[in-house]
Symmetry: C2
Subunit: 418 residues, 2 copies
């Protein structure tokens, strides 16, 4: 059997599994999740041995220390993975929720009810914990998954998937509910992306190159988690201390994540006063400032000149683009033009300005006087997240269990016809 | 400027227009809609003259009488189009609706609010009324539209779009909110489908060939309205009179539409009694029956033999495929395998059987003792519909104004940081 045939067979099996998954009760699903968590811990030796193979290959292939670290599992990290599975078991199950319920004059009763999506493909890069994180969120919502991880983590992913399958099977998990594609050839991505007969949705979790490859090939819906080019705009009516606190927090609290601040916009009416203070606080924490001409004129030696590329940069590092803007309109226009429609903030004491900013900035999450670091499923109270969608359809912003469901309509009557 | 450049320019203009549209109040949008309806009627002579050109070309090109009729506009049909616009003005505006609203322990307040999607591409075939129907639903929800109709209706579509634009402009419609692609070359579909920088969504309204072309090319989400291969299953505990009424209504009330019945499944336990009665009632109304072996054995001369192709046929005509199934499981399996996940019904007095059918049939709308003809935005009380989605993401089943919106999160605090 060639790769395409084998992947299509996995698709057929996943569709079959999804029919069984849709029938599981919440209690049955939670029992399966706890059995999966137990098995992950019971298989620690096997999983860490598999991981050691990946680490050895990564080092032999000269991957950077940061990349090797993302690959690495150890006892504590595996415990964290298993704890993540238990947390998903503890979350409410959205499947079966009645979203709407109404009668119509001709005597029919209509219900709109949450149901699983069906079969979800997850294509991800190096971190092996995604195998478990993604599979269990999809399973909790009654979906079958086909996982395709990066070749750097193939041994770790295989061992983790095997533990989930074996632990789940002992507790009643339908066969083929969670499948890992054993091929690391690039063509396997193409076959998944074209397999719309079996896959209802693909979620690529990785860099822009991976997402672009999936988008250009996919026949089924793709939910994209693109870069976070997040802005904070210090408005003319901003409080200075709040402006400093929010800017410093959004930039330096965890610079490597998608909700970290990347471009600071400062209203020209306050730039002379605010920029030196904000700049000094950032410089104290090791942040490199890349300033447009107006900001550089105020910051002086504290900044280096920005180029056009800085306005669309997701640094994920202690670097910040800084620009002076004329007014609220200019800030909104800049964000809508150069941002990634992810998470953007205005700092101001002026409610009217905040209202306009929140209405007109076309982003998944828009903040008023709040750090963009709150653009996060945990902080939103969702309990878990599969990512931050930068798409507008089906799921936008922090994406958790509800966003992994669809709905159907149930219509009942006593023989009503038109 | 070549076709691609011109279409990309329309995309840029639509994105710009969408920023203005998102700011319009409901009252402003409704006033614009009424002005559009007035202008459609005021331009009757221009629109009907344009339509006459399309009709003449269609007749010269040997289109069938049915196709020419779908193209044709007259006074009454134009009044109906204008009335449709007024009805959309009268519907509630979903934009701005607060979907959820909660506080988090760290002191942030989160709102989830409905917003327009942005720019929507509609690709449709011959019927010129779609130009108005689709554009005004998208406009009511604050979206800009780029419309691309079939070449058979190009003069009619151009005249209708011009009336909407002119009527709207006089009442404050932002320029380029509604644009019609003037090119009828096939490549224009390709350029739209690749233009994900500007188009947030494409909705193809037409046959399977059109939808397939869009799906294989599109980089942005596509909401598909595929065939309705709708089933009714007469369960062993069905009431005979209800079974006859529902089957006859679903098949014959309007055979040309996607929610019409195409395959009748009859439980073997009642087939000997029910099939002759149901068959006779259908034959009285001119329905041709195409029966599997077991059904043919009962129906005799009243049926012709079905072939494998009949189980996936959307006849849109007075033809019905008929099959005897062993039990509820076999009925569910047949529908999930051969259906189009659109609208399917069980007739039974047994609640447990109905519950299982409704849970396990993987379709947008599942009916109990109710004609599939109720799978319809008007019948659901949505006031209008842009189609019946056979997709599972974002919109499923009857798709109306709410399904033409996205949402964003608004997060407020008094300077909260992590």
């Amino acid at each position: 059997m060639d790769i395409k045939e084998e992947i299509h067979q996995m698709g057929r099996q996943a569709l079959e599994a999804s029919r069984g998954l849709a029938k599981l009760s919440t209690d049955a699903k939670n029992a399966i999740l706890l059995a999966m968590a137990d098995r992950l811990l019971a298989d620690e030796a096997v999983i860490l041995a598999a991981n050691a193979k990946d680490i050895a290959a990564a080092e032999a292939n000269g991957l950077t220390a940061a990349m090797v670290d993302r690959l690495r599992l150890d006892h504590d990290r595996l415990v964290a993975v298993a704890d993540g599975v238990r947390q998903v078991a503890a979350l409410p199950d959205p499947v079966g929720e009645v979203l709407a319920d109404w009668d119509r004059p001709k005597g029919i009763h209509i219900q709109q009810v949450r149901v699983p999506i069906g079969v979800i493909g997850i294509i991800f890069e190096s971190r092996p914990n995604v195998t478990s994180d993604a599979a269990v969120l999809c399973f909790k919502t009654g979906n079958a998954t086909i996982l395709r991880g990066g070749k750097e983590a193939i041994h770790s992913n295989t061992a983790i998937a095997a533990a989930l399958q074996a632990g789940g099977a002992a507790a009643g998990l339908p066969e083929h509910s969670i499948q890992l594609i054993p091929f690391t050839e690039r063509e396997s991505v193409q076959h998944m992306a074209q397999m719309d007969r079996y896959l209802d949705l693909i979620i690529p979790r990785g860099g822009a190159g991976l997402i672009e490859a999936v988008v250009s090939l996919a026949r089924m819906p793709v939910i994209k988690h693109y870069d976070g080019i997040c802005h904070t705009y210090l408005h003319g009516a901003a409080d200075l201390k709040m402006a400093v606190d929010i800017t410093v927090n959004a930039k330096t609290h965890k610079p490597s994540v998608c909700n970290a601040l990347e471009t600071l916009l400062v209203d020209h009416s306050i730039a002379e006063v605010f920029l030196p203070e904000v700049g000094a606080a950032l410089r104290d924490r090791g942040v490199e400032l890349r300033a447009d001409e107006a900001a550089a004129g105020i910051l002086g030696d504290a900044a280096v000149p920005a180029t056009e590329a800085d306005w669309t940069a997701e640094y994920l590092d202690l670097i910040l683009a800084v620009k002076v803007v004329d007014d609220l309109d200019a800030a909104i226009a800049h964000i809508n033009e150069f941002g990634s429609h992810h998470s953007d903030c205005i700092v101001t004491a002026d409610q009217a300005a905040a209202d306009r900013f929140m209405a007109e900035v076309d982003s998944a999450v828009v903040f008023w006087n709040t750090s963009t670091r709150f653009s996060d499923g945990e902080e939103f109270g969702f309990g878990a997240e599969i990512g931050i969608s930068t798409d507008k359809l089906h799921a936008r912003g922090p994406m958790a269990l509800r966003e992994l469901t669809s709905y159907k309509y149930l219509v009942r009557s006593d023989g009503v016809v038109r």
